[in-house]
């Protein structure tokens, strides 16, 4: 392919345009230039890849076997010929000489230019872990990479894809379709976290797992393993090893700005260009992924098209400055519909509109700020993606269609139907409202007319919206239509503003639907916020750990700071530390250890608490693990003075010393504390054992109190010495210590399984009634044993000293500073 002879002879009248990069942006720019002025330039394109220009984004379908390479070629050899373009392929440009105005290729070829266009794209980023150079470790950027993956897939076996972003998931999908066992390792807890929020990321993960891929999130690669000179597996920082015959690194891209940098052009993350795509050298332009424009680098094609248009306009026509792009993302994995665009970090100045349809596997979220759409995440139903994207780019005021926005274009532009109430009013009487319970509109309306004037009443009478809750909005509309907006009695007390369900509904549905993760609960129960709030997250975390002992993995970020740091935060931001003193007993060794800690860490105060133990104040979060280590060494464990959990078991001296003591109250208290410590509860839980009815341990204002008498043990429940003092109710009397302990375990478990989060036993007993509690415990002769067994099962997993864990190094990030800034040393930095 040679440049055609120039028209006016001598080759001086046509300017010489040299393009570095025969990729998507480089060729598109040339097309745009030719479309405006076909004669202006004598064009040479250099491409490092030994082939014509093709549609890089379609490499994924090629890998998946849905397309062939020929089908994804954009410009064939004829196109170059017809347009008189010289293509030098398979020979990368090695150097730009700006003084001489020429480029030199790897093979030594030199080409002069009047104008130079750099379109070198980006380089896949390779994490520099040991083994990253091994044969069998590939990236996913060009056709050669695809060929390597296809060759590996031919032999079958295991593939590990590092990176759960767009590229990684498309690679995983392709390899999985080609018959490999695929494991995806993703550093973050959510797949495609740049494009998806937690909820959509969760749905995507579940779907990929259903298809047989193994998805490991929060997986940090430590090393790539080798056998016989070839990759054999991947080792994670937590020690896990995964076998691999091929490892695909898809952890991100970096603008390929090396040539520009070498040539002394202004380079930030990418080659810096102005709005006409001109670099710091007026003769040199750049487009595509290699550029940085107004501080932004892009990794998708849509912005490139805009850049190429502005470039051509400025070069050969009227300038039309490029102003940056808003991008949207779709995942090219067949059968998975996913769309995201704009800013969806959400927040207080934004309004989140969320719709979840668990039955159809749909999650939609749009983010509105100042009346304008600024972001959208769609999973499962992306039909309206383009419409949202359009609204987003135009930045039009959407206040008028705010109510209907989430239902999509057809609904929102439906004139009268834009009012959801009007749309519901228009439904026929036999239209189904609640799919789960088969309730029609007519049935709901007659139920309302018969006196069910709020959501709760409708749910309990005709069952509409009582199961999955997705029709809650419809039922609310029907209430409003039937009774008038004002007449709608305020509904039942919902858990928080994120949901229309009550605590009791949520607890019931977690069990019924076997929900085992916070995002799963939010999806299935139609949470109206993307990730809940500071009030529902801790509650859900508790409900799940109570429902699925041993299975549920605690979500630390959903816990209040005291439970996250296993100490009580104080007004000055320091912490207090309370080690357990079983039943209020202590020893010289423990007292010495506490005294030593107080001195060693300069604790400003140590105090005897109202719970019969010692509280050390003023400890910094950085020092907590060291303090605990010292206390652990003396045999002490966490006192959970900070937790919605068992606090103390207060005792009196009892029969061993006291002249009135009837039983060994101290001994029983210690045994009960050893049985119950470590258990998380809906709220804090306090126990006491008094040796006689004089009740020196104040057992009758505790959540569970034992008062020893000559003939046995009186068990008391539901007491509280706090804001509203409440004396206990007598539950029953038992004869032996063993019985007292068994009943205690059963009562605790009943409270754990039934009460609402942050409801102490006193209000709980009053709400449910003592009769209900008694019937739960005593009607069925096996109930006590079954409840106590469930408590013991839970304790198997939860009775571990959280301090010992931290001392061993767990979550050290929560305790240490990132770094320390010292201005002086900075001056020299």
């Amino acid at each position: 392919m040679n440049a055609p002879a120039s028209f006016e002879g001598g080759g001086t009248s046509r300017e010489k345009l040299v393009v570095i990069g025969n990729g998507m942006a480089g060729c598109r720019a040339v097309e745009e230039i030719l479309a405006r002025d076909g004669d202006r330039f004598d064009i040479t394109i250099f491409g490092a890849e030994p082939r014509v220009n093709y549609n890089r984004i379609m490499l994924s379908p090629v890998l998946a076997g849905e397309k062939t390479f020929d089908e994804i070629v954009i410009n064939t050899a004829e196109w170059y010929d017809e347009n008189g373009i010289t293509l030098v392929s398979g020979d990368a440009v090695a150097q730009i000489d700006r003084d001489m105005q020429h480029v030199v290729t790897q093979s030594g070829r030199t080409e002069n230019y009047d104008r130079l266009l750099i379109a070198t794209g980006s380089d896949p980023f390779v994490i520099p872990v040991p083994g990253h150079n091994l044969p069998g470790v590939v990236t996913f950027r060009d056709l050669d990479d695809v060929d390597k993956m296809l060759a590996a897939a031919e032999k079958g076996g295991n593939a590990v894809v590092i990176g759960g972003g767009l590229l990684g998931l498309e690679a995983a999908h392709g390899l999985s379709l080609r018959g490999m066992h695929v494991t995806v390792l993703h550093l973050m807890p959510t797949l495609m976290e740049r494009q998806l929020d937690e909820a959509a990321g969760y749905l995507l993960k579940t779907e990929l797992e259903r298809r047989g891929q193994v998805i490991l999130t929060s997986a940090d690669t430590a090393e790539i393993l080798e056998k016989h000179g070839h990759v054999s597996g991947v080792k994670l920082k937590d020690g896990t090893e995964i076998a691999a015959d091929i490892v695909v690194m898809a952890v991100g891209i970096r603008p390929n700005a090396a040539l520009g940098k070498m040539a002394g052009l202004e380079v930030g993350r990418g080659i810096v260009v102005n709005d006409d795509m001109v670099t710091s050298d007026p003769a040199i332009m750049a487009v595509g992924e290699c550029v940085e424009h107004r501080g932004q680098c892009y990794g998708l094609v849509a912005p490139l098209w805009d850049m190429c248009r502005s470039l051509a306009d400025a070069l050969v026509a009227e300038p039309s400055p490029y102003e940056g792009s808003v991008t949207s993302t779709k995942l090219k994995v067949s059968g998975i519909d996913l769309f995201s665009a704009g800013d969806f970090s959400g927040g207080d100045d934004c309004e989140d509109i969320v719709m979840r349809d668990a039955a159809r596997g749909v999650y939609k979220r749009v983010i509105v700020k100042d009346g304008r759409l600024i972001g959208a995440v769609l999973y499962g139903d992306t039909a309206d993606g383009n419409w949202y994207f359009d609204l987003l780019k135009k930045g039009e005021d959407v206040s008028d269609i705010r109510e209907a926005l989430i239902f999509g274009q057809a609904y929102a532009s439906g004139g009268a139907l834009a009012d959801p109430n009007a749309a519901v009013a228009a439904l026929s009487d036999d239209a189904e409202i609640c799919g789960c319970n088969g309730v029609s509109k007519g049935q709901v309306v007659s139920c309302i007319n018969n006196g069910a004037h709020n959501l709760d009443a409708v749910r309990s009478t005709c069952k509409a919206s009582a199961s999955c809750g997705s029709c809650t909005g419809l039922v609310e509309s029907l209430l409003a239509i039937t009774l008038g907006e004002e007449a709608v009695a305020s509904g039942p007390q919902t858990m928080c503003k994120c949901t229309s369900f009550t605590h009791d509904d949520v607890r019931r549905l977690i069990l019924e639907k076997e929900l085992k993760l916070i995002p799963e609960v939010m999806q299935e129960l139609h949470w109206t916020t993307p990730e809940g709030c500071a009030s529902c997250r801790p509650a859900l975390n508790y409900y799940l750990l109570c429902a699925w002992p041993g299975e549920y993995e605690d979500d630390e970020k959903s816990r209040f700071v005291n439970e996250r740091l296993h100490a009580n935060i104080q007004k000055d931001g320091t912490y207090s530390v309370v080690p357990r003193m079983w039943g209020g007993l202590t020893s010289p060794k423990e007292l010495r250890a506490i005294a030593d800690v107080v001195e060693k860490f300069n604790a400003p105060m140590v105090k005897v608490t109202g719970g019969q133990r010692l509280d050390i104040f003023g400890i910094k979060k950085e020092d907590l693990p060291a303090v605990w280590a010292d206390l652990n060494t003396a045999g002490m464990v966490s006192g959970h003075a900070y937790g919605k959990s068992l606090r103390t078991v207060k005792t009196c001296v009892g029969s061993e010393w006291c002249r009135f003591g009837t039983q060994d109250s101290t001994g029983l208290g210690v045994k009960i504390e050893k049985m119950t410590w470590g258990s998380y509860m809906p709220h804090k839980f306090k126990i006491a054992v008094s040796g006689c009815p004089r009740n020196c341990a104040e057992a009758t204002i505790k959540d569970f109190g034992v008062v020893c008498v000559d003939s046995g043990y009186e068990l008391h429940v539901g007491g509280n010495g706090g804001i509203h003092v409440r004396a206990t109710d007598l539950l029953c009397k038992v004869e032996t210590e063993e019985q007292a302990m068994e009943y205690c375990a059963a009562f605790i478990q009943l409270y754990r399984e039934d009460a609402r989060y942050l409801e102490r036993t006193a209000p709980w007993v009053e709400r449910k009634g003592l009769d209900w509690i008694k019937s739960q415990l005593f009607d069925d002769p096996h109930a006590i044993l079954q409840l106590a067994d469930r408590f013991r099962l839970s304790q198997k997993y939860w009775q571990v000293d959280p301090w010992a864990n931290r001392v061993a190094g767990a979550h050290s990030d929560l305790h240490s500073h990132l770094a320390e800034v010292r201005p002086l040393s900075l001056e020299n930095a």
Partner: protein, 117 residues
């Protein structure tokens, strides 16, 4: 303080050292401690680690959306603007932050001149 011609941004390390949904702290000698937040969604923000109410350590609060709930008395503080939300009034200084190639940078002057709310 002498002004430094380069380095208007202070590199405080890689993004992975702050797990999503948590925050970590950065003491500044002669200035106020800074809290660097990583939201569940993956955004990073930095604020002076001090609640406008009674100087509670915001780094220790529960993070949801781009809001943190202060651990001391549950004020909700915007991570973007440092402002108290809802009926509460007050503002914590924000520290301009940027993430580049997997590393977190804080604006140097804002860090050095940080003052508690």
């Amino acid at each position: 303080m002498m002004s430094d011609p380069v380095g208007t941004w202070l590199d405080i390390g890689v993004t992975t050292q702050i797990a999503p949904g948590t925050a970590r702290t950065l003491p500044v000698q002669g200035g106020a401690e800074i809290a660097v937040f990583h939201t569940i969604r993956g955004e990073f923000y930095a604020l002076v680690n001090s609640c406008p109410h009674k100087q509670g350590p915001l780094s220790q609060g529960i993070i949801h959306g781009d809001t943190v709930t202060c651990p001391l008395h549950n004020w909700r503080i915007s991570l973007k603007r440092g402002e108290a939300l809802g009926d509460d009034e007050g503002c914590t200084p924000t520290i301009p932050l940027k993430v580049d190639a997997g590393r977190i940078y804080l604006q140097r002057d804002a860090v050095l001149n940080s003052r508690a709310a």
